[in-house]
């Protein structure tokens, strides 16, 4: 077992801190994230309000602690759904090949040709802003990435002799697909899952910023940046703090995905042994 790189250890620490802050926000937050104090608006950071207050006097630090909860959960659920759908479709396309594969590949190409974020925006607007419409939009956009990778891997794996062996002893297709091919795909899909989650958190924030995602007064990083636009000059912290949280989250996830990728990359490892 290789040692984890320092940067991955730091990333793991940051990710854990963000997740724990989100989970225990109700215990950790010094103030109610929805409670406004009109006598104390746009305050600079102080001992009472570590990051200051926003335009209606809500405590920024408390809102920051709560700010990841909804978007992280949303990103996890939507990406997991995309992964499930993409995985099954890729498995079928890769294993059966032929006409089935042709139809699926064409459909994938159509989805890949659609303008990503704008399609998400169109769907969010079509269904009205909200959690369901964002999940639909993300899944529409993300399943192709998974199905492509799974399809490619399955096409490689099904050439292996142990698959022929399984066929000759009469193992069913479902058994071969789920018990013998799928486990080999775990690593690659996990890495893709992580990088997609990082990208989806950013996309959700962008949607919320445009007013098409999570809605005010939800304490959410994207919503907070959107609400802070007009006051940015007076209290830069209102835009900087939630933005840094999004960067810290997606950066630490991306670094950990790289760590996983390095560990799984067989060719690179065998090179180092040479």
């Amino acid at each position: 077992m290789k040692h984890m790189r320092l940067r991955s250890k730091i990333a793991l620490g940051i990710l854990a801190a963000i997740l724990l802050a989100g989970i225990f926000a109700p215990l950790l937050a010094p103030y109610d994230p929805y409670a406004s104090d009109l006598g104390n608006v746009l305050a600079q950071p102080s001992a009472q309000h570590w990051l200051g207050t926003d335009s209606i006097g809500r405590d920024l630090f408390s809102r920051i602690l709560y700010g990841g909860r909804q978007s992280i959960l949303l990103a996890l659920v939507a990406t997991a759904l995309s992964m499930g759908i993409g995985f099954l479709i890729g498995l079928v396309a890769g294993y059966f090949g032929g006409a089935v594969d042709g139809v699926i590949t064409t459909i994938s190409n159509v989805f890949q040709g659609l303008p990503g974020l704008t399609l998400m925006i169109a769907i969010a607007a079509l269904m009205g802003p909200g959690v369901t419409s964002m999940i639909v939009a993300i899944v529409t956009n993300s399943w192709v990435g998974f199905s492509r990778i799974v399809r490619g891997e399955v096409m490689k794996i099904k050439q292996e002799s142990y698959i022929d062996g399984l066929k000759s002893v009469g193992a069913s297709k479902a058994r071969i697909l789920f018990m013998h091919i799928s486990p080999n795909l775990l690593g690659t899909t996990c890495i893709l899952f992580a990088t997609r989650v990082a990208a989806v958190v950013i996309a959700v924030a962008a949607l919320s910023y445009l007013g098409l995602g999570l809605q005010p007064p939800t304490p959410d990083w994207g919503v907070m940046i959107s609400e802070a636009r007009a006051y940015f000059r007076r209290v830069p912290m209102m835009v900087v703090a939630p933005g840094l949280c999004i960067v810290a989250l997606s950066l630490s996830v991306n670094i950990l995905a790289d760590e996983m990728r390095d560990r799984l990359d067989v060719r690179k490892d065998s090179l180092k042994d040479m």
């Binding site: 940067r7 064409t106 459909i107 190409n109 159509v110 890949q112 040709g113 659609l114 303008p115 990503g116 974020l117 704008t118 399609l119 925006i121 169109a122 607007a125 079509l126 009205g128 990082a198 950013i202 924030a205 962008a206 910023y209 445009l210 007013g211 098409l212 940046i225 636009r229 940015f232 000059r233 830069p236 835009v239 900087v240 933005g243 999004i246 960067v247 997606s250 950066l251 996830v253 991306n254 670094i255 790289d258 060719r267 690179k268 090179l271």
Partner: protein, 316 residues
């Protein structure tokens, strides 16, 4: 000829994709909330009309026909270049697109240029200085670039460069300077991805037999990287840049909105926000078509760099 056959085969594969894009674009309009007939007869929500008037307008718009007929009618109009008129401004969508496409093209082109120079450049530097502090720094930086939300960076850049230091305009593209900040913002994530991709593909190639041979012939490291590994790494890099160009049209929408750039992306977002679905349909059509064209270009690029295809050896 093998080559023509190859290209025709690739083109044939793209036709169903184009049809699929038109179906989805059309569906976006059909599924959209709100009744277009009602919007025409009753634009401000206070006028009344009779059932007869309603049916007349519905017939005039072809909305009384089955969905399939509506789709074919719509497709026919699109093919004749008629994208219809915006519900709200009553301006011709085609005219708007014609006016806005060049702006988005300039923006996308500039940002592509930045991605190519800085992405490929730092990728090569990282690969040739593998595992050095410089490599570690640049690869860290490229990971940061792809983790930063564009809309947030845009706000910060506007604040620093336009409001605090007053070097560049806050918004609009009345002069070339107006393109600088949005092009940089748009290029950041792509530069990160491109740098990482360039590094890993070159390192991959360096591990292959032919580079080992080149090495053992005594060619110096720089020649091995540039003459051999880089040429082969061009295929994945070119593919990435091609899809990036297509993707940038969609990704530019948010950035165009923040910088108040009159491109097709900000047009689409404004249309989405006011439920102007003909405009959204036209936009989705346009992006899909650009994607298909980009793919054709990538294929032609493959053929020029890949001797296997050029000599007709690898026509699957």
């Amino acid at each position: 000829m093998e080559l023509t056959k190859y290209i025709l085969k690739r083109l044939a594969l793209l036709i169903p994709v184009l049809i699929g894009v038109t179906i989805i674009a059309f569906a976006l309009g059909v599924l959209s909330p709100g009744d277009p007939v009602d919007q025409i007869l009753n634009p401000d929500g206070s006028e009344s009309y009779t059932q007869e008037e309603y049916e007349q307008v519905s017939e005039r718009l072809g909305l009384d026909q089955p969905v399939v007929v509506q789709y074919l009618d719509w497709l026919g109009e699109i093919l004749r270049g008629d994208f219809g008129r915006s519900f709200f401004t009553q301006k011709s969508i085609l005219d708007q697109l014609r006016y806005r496409i060049p702006t988005t093209m300039v923006l996308a082109g500039l940002s592509m240029l930045l991605v190519t120079i800085f992405g490929v450049g730092s990728g090569i530097i990282m690969a040739t200085h593998r595992d050095s502090p410089l490599d570690r720094f640049l690869s860290g930086l490229s990971t940061v670039l792809l983790s930063v939300p564009g809309f947030w960076i845009a706000i910060l850049l506007i604040f620093l460069f336009a409001e605090k230091w007053k070097i560049l305009p806050t918004s609009g593209v009345s002069s070339f300077a107006g393109f600088i900040l949005p092009a940089i913002t748009l290029a950041l994530p792509g530069t990160g991805v491109c740098a990482r991709l360039t590094r890993s593909t070159i390192l991959d190639e360096l591990g292959r037999q032919y580079t080992v041979v080149a090495d053992s012939k005594g060619l110096d490291q720089r020649q091995v990287v540039m003459r051999h590994a880089f040429i082969n790494a061009l295929v994945p890099i070119g593919t990435y840049l091609g899809t990036h160009l297509a993707g940038i049209m969609g990704g530019a929408a948010v950035i165009e909105t923040i910088f108040a750039i009159p491109g097709i992306g900000s047009y689409a977002i404004a249309a989405v926000q006011s439920s102007d679905y003909y405009v959204v349909q036209a936009y989705v059509m346009l992006c899909g078509t650009i994607y298909v064209i980009a793919n054709i270009l990538i294929d032609i690029f493959y053929i020029t760099v890949n001797p296997k295809i050029r000599f007709g050896l690898a026509v699957e």
